[in-house]
Symmetry: C2
Subunit: 693 residues, 2 copies
């Protein structure tokens, strides 16, 4: 601190400082980086080196980021689409941030489900998340008539001072449709500009809406001039609570609603009306912190001057399709984060040590114990990888549950997208599909679904994105993600290259009823598997047709040529004749497609890449004494495809095969440990000559 008690000298100094600082801003601000040497700015380089600055160019020096201070961000988020938007917003914030962050998320049940899983699996250091129940807060705003497309969710921002923890003094409030192009700490630093009276920081509205002259009888809510936009808000929660904010906005809203029928712009109308009444509450923020890209935006006045845009706001219901001659420019900034690999944001803040996210330490110990020289290092590393998971990536409205309902469970990556339409035609019931994608591929997938009438029409198909990381395909982890999200009492554990008989969904439910199964009974219904080698073939509509195709050589039993052991126990000969379900016994390498109760054992995630991933699951079912019942009218048919990269590696690499063998051995050791002598038969079966998978 400066010595007190010399007010006059200080006053003079302050005045001089002011003068010098003005000069400083005008001529370039030669502050040194290690020690103050401001005076040097006055006798330094020729002005030619500084470019042609004028006053409006003078972006001031960036304020000090409050180093390692925890910054708080509140966001209201509801539904599947906003959850995707939030993911993109968070990626943009994390990309530039250098401070620990805490996200306060006001969510509905759908968004909470998605985002809890997303943040839990994301494991970003120095990021905390709290959830607040939107339903609980709704009554506080649901009385307000509102015409804005954000519905009630926009209005929810009004109640944040009461909803957030009482000891939270400041928060940045963001709409889900904003994208950061700079460090959020710079925004947080603007709190320092608030006077004692100011409680809310906002950017001026970049449209003429509140001027009230857009059309005849256009009557917007009252606002100061153009008013302010509430896509980005700095809130002094402590002062708002002290000032009785809860009463204040309700009084204003109630009064305005006496003459106005409803809010047009949700919370924004009410914030503006309050500010019009109490102008001292607002600290205007620089326009770059909320560049608004609505259809008739005046934002160009802002961005054509500023070289450094900070936050872009897609505040039109058209979002990226908004009409704006520079939309490509902004779209590129947005796409950057839409497609950004979120895994790369799992980086520590060196300068701000913070406790690691839950589970990280254990994981890092396990990773540190791996031996890089181990031939199976890649497998073990892949097994330990925690994949970021975005469940219910697209809107999903499960139908009311039917009795004995069955969810088809499968996993895929980009190269199998073209299977989805056919699968939807063959399986009219619910599906839970895990997709292994990069962030960029997830967007391609989204466009693919939007472009498909067949896929868009289905509300009972849930797509769960597991973000790619590591060289080996985590097939069993993917299956487990899809399985965990199935909502029906039964699941059909399928693979993406199979098309079930058109009647299978109905037939399976009828069979479960006829067999009087219940979800406690350990039964696995076997769906016999076949394959065609032709891309275009006429799918059999009955067992009789299927048998005819089989006899004519157009169809084969699945992997008849390469690996008959995988399905031999199904006993195709018996199936030809069978009229009723029949029981079969487990045998080594059996890997049928089965329908089981939803609470069946999970797949063993140690099997990554190609090989033994389903076999191990069937062993586990058998060890847990599931009865295997083959259904006489059920069938599913495998369509041809090129070999996957993983199967190519398996075939070409002896090391790959050796690792698979090591994994099998470890699996059997665990099996013995778990099931004791009963697991002996699996080891005995192993003694038989090993097959390819």
């Amino acid at each position: 601190m400066l010595p007190r008690g010399r007010p006059r000298a200080l006053g003079a100094a302050a005045l001089l400082l002011l003068l010098l600082l003005i000069g400083f801003f005008l001529f370039g601000g030669d502050l040194e980086y290690e020690r103050p040497r401001g005076a040097a700015a006055l006798d330094g380089d020729p002005p030619a080196d500084r470019g042609g600055h004028n006053l409006s160019d003078c972006v001031p020096p960036r304020p000090l980021p409050p180093k390692c201070e925890l910054l708080h961000v509140a966001i209201v988020c509801a539904g599947h689409n906003s959850s995707r938007d939030l993911n993109t917003l968070v990626k943009s914030v994390l990309f530039y941030r250098k401070n620990p962050l805490h996200f306060h998320l006001v969510t509905d049940a759908v968004a909470r489900n998605i985002l809890e899983m997303l943040f839990h699996t994301w494991m970003v250091p120095a990021v905390g998340v709290s959830f607040y129940d939107l339903e609980e807060l709704k009554p506080q705003v649901s009385w307000i008539p509102n015409k804005h497309y954000s519905g009630l969710y926009g209005l929810m921002k009004l109640v944040l001072p009461g909803a957030l923890p009482p000891d939270l003094a400041r928060v940045i409030v963001l709409d889900t449709d904003v994208t950061f192009a700079s460090d959020i700490a710079e925004l947080w630093a603007l709190f320092a500009h608030f006077s004692d009276k100011q409680v809310i920081g906002l950017v001026e509205n970049q449209s003429d809406w509140y001027l009230g002259n857009l059309w005849r009888n256009h009557r917007p809510w009252p606002a100061l001039g153009r008013g302010f936009n509430t896509g980005v808000i700095l809130l002094r929660l402590d002062r708002l609570r002290q000032a009785g904010w809860g009463q204040m906005w309700k009084l204003t809203a109630t009064r305005e609603l006496l003459t106005l029928p409803a809010t047009s712009l949700a919370d924004q109308d009410i914030f503006n009306a309050v500010i019009k009444e109490h102008p001292g509450l607002v600290q205007p923020l620089p326009c770059v912190w909320n560049v608004q890209l609505s259809d008739h935006t005046l934002a160009e006045r802002c961005y054509s001057e500023a070289s450094d845009l900070k936050v872009i706001h897609w505040n039109s219901p058209k979002k990226l399709r908004v009409k704006n001659k520079h939309v490509e420019y902004f779209r590129n900034l947005y796409l950057t984060f839409l497609e950004y690999d979120g895994n790369l944001l799992r980086r520590e803040l060196f300068a701000c040590p913070s406790p690691p996210p839950p589970g990280t330490e254990q994981l890092q110990r396990a990773l540190a114990q791996l031996d890089e020289e181990d031939a199976c290092f890649e497998f073990r590393q892949q097994q330990l990888t925690v994949h970021r998971v975005h469940i219910s990536f697209l809107p999903h409205e499960p139908l009311p549950p039917r009795p004995h309902d069955i969810t088809l469970v499968a996993q895929l990556s980009m190269d199998r997208l073209q299977m989805l339409e056919a699968l939807c035609r063959h399986w009219p019931g619910p599906m839970s599909l895990a997709l292994y994608l990069t962030d960029a591929e997830a967007q391609q997938f989204l466009r693919f679904v939007e472009a498909s009438a067949v896929l868009s029409a289905r509300q009972d198909v849930a797509y769960h994105v597991v973000y790619r990381e590591g060289p080996l395909y985590p097939v069993n982890e993917l299956r487990n993600v899809a399985l965990a999200q199935a909502l029906t009492p039964y699941v059909f554990l399928s693979d993406i290259d199979f098309l079930p008989a058109y009647s299978l969904y109905d037939y399976l439910r009828a069979s479960i009823e006829q067999l009087k199964l219940n979800s406690e009974r350990k039964v696995a219904l076997v769906v016999p598997a076949f394959e065609t080698l032709h891309y275009r073939f006429s799918f059999p509509s009955s067992k009789a047709e299927l048998l005819a195709l089989l006899d004519s050589g157009s169809l084969y039993t699945f992997r008849y040529h390469e690996w008959p052991r995988g399905h031999a126990p199904t006993d195709y000969a018996r199936w030809r004749e069978a009229q009723t379900p029949y029981r079969v016994q487990w045998a080594a390498d059996y890997e049928p497609y089965v329908v089981v109760p939803r609470d069946c054992p999970r797949y063993d995630p140690r099997f990554v890449g190609f090989g033994w991933n389903k076999v191990a699951h069937i062993v586990e079912l058998d060890a847990q004494e599931y009865e295997l019942l083959v259904l006489p009218e059920a069938f599913t048919i495998h369509l041809p495809h090129a070999p996957s990269l993983d199967i190519s590696r398996f075939r070409s690499s002896p090391a790959y095969r050796d690792c698979l063998q090591a994994l099998k051995d470890e699996f059997h050791q665990d099996l013995s440990r778990h099931y004791g002598a009963a697991a002996l038969k699996y080891l005995t079966a192993l003694q038989q000559p090993p097959g390819p998978a």
Copy 2:
């Protein structure tokens, strides 16, 4: 400027300013963004809000970027691998930049070829590029014995003051192994800190190398303390030239080489020796501008304090595999730009209007003329898309030319990578392959090749990456990219799903010789096409074996079931019996695989997605009077694969088929315009019932 002539008052003011600025740095620097209000810093908010700063935390305000000033960057780049590194470096620079840039690239012929095409097709606004011939400059440094892994290329930095244009006063010099994490204008702004005498800005070396105590008899070149690292250099070229830099470094180097056998760290040893002799030349830069990640780096001293790293330098020959406990952190920053979609950097600098890159205006006019309501809008937009092209993505050493040599030309995307090994086994000759990939996929492709012994062993396969943009597969543009890069007199125009007969390469060259063809003669040698429906099948080693498989129903003539017209004119019946080449006539929808002279007509890029892309090319050959000769022993076999997304769209969308028809019509109109009455037969052929492709 401040009034002169009051030196004492100014002196006192400067002193006070200094004091105040110290306080200012200590307590957080509440500079306002719109007008100076520095005094407010002294009576503002409670210190609690600023976090616990201490002196070392005090990152000073960012200096003013010289708005719209053109910044110059020089980089030495040679060979395929450095060109890939340069691409990543440039992406990181462009991501954060807000100024027009000019890159001065000192390159060998390989890098120049690659980078000229890359920048030409990248079309980034406000980016200029100049090339300088590395070979011409070599004699100036080739006399220096050097042990560093960068070879002569590192040393080349010494001669930049003479090599760059004489009117260029300042330049930032970068190694290709650095990654930016901030705006390069901030680095440029550090030129302003140079005193009148200083000519070179450098960051201190972050290792103990130059202390000379790493091992017994370790004798490094002389340096000031730890010396400086030359991965990032600010050069005052004007002053260097004035000071006789060319003589200066040569004198020092010659003198040191009297007692030292060679440079260990290339140019860095010489820069340091000169600086040791003339310490006044150097302006030390903050450590964050060159965070050095070598094996025994001391960089943690830098990055554990600074929250804002600016440039990362992978200055170990191990690069990303360097041993450093924080390497994951830095790797993530690097991967960000390695995988970043470079197309997103094609964004204007609003605040700095600059002339558009060549061709852009024409393109934008054409795009603006498209009608968004046109059902074929997507096709027309895709046709106008300029794809960024990175030729020779991997090292490629063409073998000495053989007579009548033939390059296999094909294109693919990620879903066909698994074909490459088999293709290499079947075609021992040169190949030119275009790959349609995202930036991230290009890295997966690189790892795929590195992991494959078969692919790594081949130096005569050139891979050209065309970066993905737009929804439709630009099949013919890809073919043209691969075709343009073929270096042999003949090309075999194939598709990636085909495996040629093992003998085909030799047989084709022998046939060309026997037929006494020369590359002026317009002949297209037809390679008859077959298909198998099995993934695993024993590839026929002779025509006799092939015919046996055909007779047994294991092989078919290509698209026998779906589209026999495509290959019917090849006349398979005649081929069975043929002993010598025979001539066939063009017929509608004919699309054989052919060998033609390299200067054959290009593919028509209007055909994007699925359909008619090869057919149109054969029409063009016929219109130009190419003779079609079927070779009696040649064959190629199509392997099965799942239908592509494009073919799925074609089959499911009537609009897609209508657009293809519109494209065909336009193609025929152009044909008539070009070939007149001779093109009538193609229109007549059109009257026949249309087929699927």
